[in-house]
Amino acid sequence: MSSAARAAGTGGADAAAEAARSAGPPAQIHVPSGGARGELRAIRIVWWRELIRFSRDRLRIITSLVQPFLFLFILGTGLSTLSAHGHFRISLRTLFYPGVLCMAVMFTAMFSAASIVWDREFGFLREMMVAPVKRASLVLGKCLGGATVAAFQGLIVIAIAGLVGVPYEPLMLLEIFGLQLLVAFSITAFGVMAAARITQMQSFMAVTQMAIMPMFFISGALFPVSGLPSWLTVLNRIDPLTYAVDPMRRIVFAHLKLGGAERLAFAGGVTWWGYRVPTLLEAGVVAALGLVMLGVAIAEFSRVD
């Protein structure tokens, strides 16, 4: 602390003493018991904080877009030289696009959840934990905030649809955005659940990367999921992320002009013992898992020593 600041500090005390004398004793404010309204305000303010922090962190907005763009334009373009020899006209960039739409929100959502670990290390978590509101409200606000921030990131990836040969159709864009919100919420819930137990940033990053990367690759974000070897099919069907990627691909591919054979090969989709799982059910799986993890996270944070 500089000597100038110090002088300002002590000078401030005098000025404040002056102010206090002239203003008289500070007013007493009766803080009413919260109730549902209080809980809603808590949810809103935790959500709001998430947004402010995100908007202050421009670097994060840019860096978290690097990975999706790498997959889409570098891997997609590079591998296209191979597929040029095949029978299909579809670009790999287009094939990857639905997976990358999911990916864009996944990493941002996870990063939002990670801030709980920072908050614990920097002490801010305690400020929230001692507030006279339910821990559930804090966790819910956090997850909604993570979802909002991630979905904003998703919007940027939606905006480049034209570059990968996907038409801008309002209904499709809306569906994609809705699904992104859902995925982002569930992933944040997963991250918050993990953050309840894992208190160190390094461990948190290691564990979540360990979970997210395999989930991402197995989900079929980068390949069609019909006609896989049986062991991979089994892994694919138990990967929760599959049920986010598949509907995303279905939404996008429904709006592409494809031949029947191509549609069959690329958008064959997820089946359970021959049963083609409908989009709503898939979204339901993602939502249900998200809610379960939210519940676990709330229970974890509600514990008191």
Partner: protein
């Protein structure tokens, strides 16, 4: 809410009317105190961090908890502010049970933690706004009250700055401002001046005194700085999870009794022998000085010069400090206790993180 709980408990007990009346009186008595603690215990495994303490703090008091790191001060505060559940015993804050009426307690207290708990990526004002919303303050009161506590803590000009740009002393003041925002009845300050330079420490103290003068508020603080404890109305000295002494600073100092006299002489050995023979006083020699205790230091000095027989070069008399008080109750200086308490502290810190 609390009434409902209590009547429920009474019905379950099936207590007689006489016992009921007695209990009502007890409840009234408890409600008259800002803090009321009986047989409070916190165990972590085999470690008894708080080993059964009793005390009460009257409304409007400035009450200090003094002790080395690891003595159980922070654990006690954590129990009082509902962050840690007591293993046994009871504690009431502003008339509410900390174990059963957590939200009621939380609304009545303001907290300033040992470690800072501000969000550095928000401005000072945003940090306070967040707090106001979490505590459900009436919307119309938020803006004026934020302005009020900010100028009280001398931070008004910096209200739009990011907290990351604040110095240690400013952050601490902002935390105190935040602790006061919802007009708590009891303000807990856990080591409010730890890690600050002496000048900032004294400025923080002038704010605390100002606050005490201006508002009807009870302040409960912990410190391990002896000189700071003297600002308090009453002090509880804590060591190894127990309260070893509790009274006003003056009474505590008086209980140690003797003043400390230090003399420099031409010949320390001869002077020590003379003290033993003529006055019956045992002295100890350290750093070229003889130190001993006498009941009335100032009145003893003239006799000393007249009767010692060894030339005296300098003499100093000091009233017992809280340091001496701590020493006399625990047999150790506060610094010694800290050295041995570090492991215990580390253990407790790990436990806190694990939650």
């Amino acid at each position: 809410m609390r009434d409902a709980e209590e009547s429920g408990r009474r019905r379950a007990d099936g207590s007689a009317p006489a016992a009921l009346a007695q209990e009502d009186q007890a409840a009234e008595e408890i409600a008259a105190y800002a803090v009321y603690v009986r047989k409070l215990v916190k165990r972590y495994g085999d470690l008894e961090a708080v080993a059964g303490i009793d005390f009460e703090v009257a409304r409007g008091e400035l009450f200090g908890f003094l002790g080395p790191n690891g003595a159980g001060k922070s654990t006690t505060i954590n129990m009082l502010c509902t962050l840690v559940r007591p293993s046994s015993g009871v504690a009431y804050v502003a008339g509410h049970d900390v174990a059963r009426e957590r939200d009621a307690v939380r609304r009545q207290i303001g907290l300033v933690f040992q470690d800072q708990t501000l969000d550095g990526y928000l401005t000072a004002e945003q940090n306070l706004r967040l707090h106001a919303e979490l505590y459900g303050m009436p919307r119309s009161t938020i803006a004026p009250r934020i302005a009020e506590v900010m100028s009280m803590m001398g931070l008004h000009e910096r209200r739009r700055s990011l907290v990351n740009t604040f110095s240690g002393g400013m952050r601490r003041r902002l935390e105190i401002a935040r602790g006061l925002l919802h007009s708590p009845r009891v303000l807990f300050l856990d080591e409010p001046t730890i890690g600050l330079d002496p000048q900032t420490r004294s400025s923080i103290w002038s704010y605390i005194r100002l606050l005490k003068a201006g508002a009807d508020i009870t302040i409960f603080l912990t410190t391990h700085y002896m000189d700071e404890a003297e600002h308090c109305g009453r002090i509880a000295i804590m060591d190894q999870g127990r309260i070893v002494a509790l009274d006003t600073p003056d009474v505590l100092k008086a209980s140690v009794g003797k003043d400390r006299v230090q003399i420099r002489t031409e010949d320390d050995a001869a002077a020590a022998a003379a003290l033993r023979e003529r006055f019956g006083i045992e002295s100890s020699e350290a750093e070229g000085m003889l130190t001993f205790g006498v009941a009335e230091g100032e009145q003893f000095v003239p006799r000393l010069f007249a009767e010692l027989g060894v030339p005296i070069r300098s003499v100093s008399v000091s009233r017992p400090s809280l340091d001496d008080v701590f020493m006399s109750y625990t047999g150790r200086t506060i610094r010694d206790s800290e050295a041995s308490g570090t492991d215990q502290l580390r253990q407790m810190a790990t436990m806190w993180r694990r939650r």
